[in-house]
Symmetry: C2
Subunit: 255 residues, 2 copies
């Protein structure tokens, strides 16, 4: 497989960087090709702006419209085009970041904001007018896995832990971003208690990461429901007979 590894940590001598290096070694071993977007090293600009779309600042900009026009006419800025090209090449994306305020660092959030423009990531309709998203889209066929480090200890981030459950915290990314565009998200790989990891903890983390990379092409994705296969009604509300009476985020997964 072709793997795009997106890395978002400011420090090249960090736990995250060490895990990344071990991960890339493992991908080599398992026979996968890989490319890297090391966002800090690239000095990636995460801020959507007029320059992305060669948009005249004197004229009002509607972000969605401007992004689609620039995408379709080949006027997107070079740095965005380069990332779209890497994404097109990739069969799988590994997204590695330290959890900051229970989400991605800004530099990484801005990768999605800028790269997944209208016409590529959203705003896609079939010939019959069906909106293609949540499972169907231009990026269908790809898979993605989050690799993250979290300061919190394990019990605090579980199903009834004070910080919330990890797949709930990542729902906007897994479901609202990857799945929205057609990319199948795999269960995330998280290193807990990351700011006080000892040597044994690091060895265990590397082993865990290697195991997950070994099955990168075969692991079962999080079984999110498709928008267009009858599970949701015409108002995009889940059918009453599915996960009846519930309203937690897991209702959007198939049983």
């Amino acid at each position: 497989m072709n793997v795009l590894w997106i890395f978002a940590h400011p420090e090249g001598r960090s736990l995250n960087a060490a895990l990344r290096d071990e991960g890339l070694k493992a991908l080599d071993e398992f026979g996968h090709a890989h490319r890297m977007s090391d966002l800090y090293a690239m000095k990636w600009n995460p801020v959507v702006g007029y320059d992305d779309f060669a948009h005249d600042p004197g004229k009002r900009m509607l972000v969605a419209t401007a992004s689609q026009e620039a995408y379709e006419s080949g006027r997107l800025s070079a740095d965005v085009l380069a990332e779209q090209e890497k994404l097109a090449w990739a069969d799988a994306v590994v997204l590695q970041f330290p959890m900051w305020w229970y989400g991605m660092p800004a530099i990484l959030k801005g990768w999605f904001d800028r790269v997944l423009v209208k016409g590529l990531g959203y705003g896609i309709t079939a010939d019959d007018g069906t909106v293609l998203r949540y499972g169907d889209g231009k990026l269908t066929g790809k898979r993605a896995m989050v690799v993250t480090t979290i300061g919190a200890r394990e019990s605090g981030i579980g199903p009834r832990g004070i910080h919330g459950e990890l797949t709930d915290l990542l729902f906007p990314l897994h479901h609202g971003t990857f799945w929205y565009t057609g990319i199948e998200p795999l269960p995330p790989f998280a290193v807990l208690g990351a700011d006080r990891l000892d040597e044994a903890g690091f060895t265990a983390a590397v082993g865990g990461l290697r195991d997950r990379l070994r099955t990168l092409s075969t692991a079962e994705p999080i079984p999110f429901r498709h928008q267009n296969r009858g599970d949701y009604d015409e108002n995009l509300v889940l059918r009453r007979d599915l996960a009846p009476g519930r309203s937690d985020l897991a209702i959007h997964q198939r049983d």
Copy 2:
């Protein structure tokens, strides 16, 4: 009250900018003082880096440690200090942004990444060693309200809507950021179907926003549980007799 309005939209002629202007007018009318952080206009840098902490790039940087040292020794960069000063001044924060990929634009996520350093936003302990977070912290006594525009229509973003429920989507911000630092989050104000709002829709949105700003100082916050009032056990797991059998994110709210 003193209100800090944080605004994160690239276009000064947008729906968001028009709502902001109406919101500021309303704050004047209701007798509140206000200051503005217009992140795009300020060319706010959202990326945490060595410069934030006057950290020698030749030396390994642990972000938490570096941020705390810089905070305590007064070496934080001037732009971060200016935002911390505004936050200290404020009794309430209004956080206005268009929802992009079910979260904040990168420029806004980076406001939290950079401003809420260790020692101010996290890593705070009482004299007896108790960790102060989730309701208790240096920012306790302040309140915050999200004002957001969303392309999705209303039914799709409700409790069983395909996009997820809004307070679940915002849990990392409301609970994992505001409440973590002690700030009480109010229920969010959202304008749905924002990319196809007509004149009547805009008038309704302004009316709704004005109503919410009218009660900014009195509205009931989202009733999140405190970490240190007995609801969670020593592993930070919710007590079994509270919201028994459930594991959705709403269990972290008091009944």
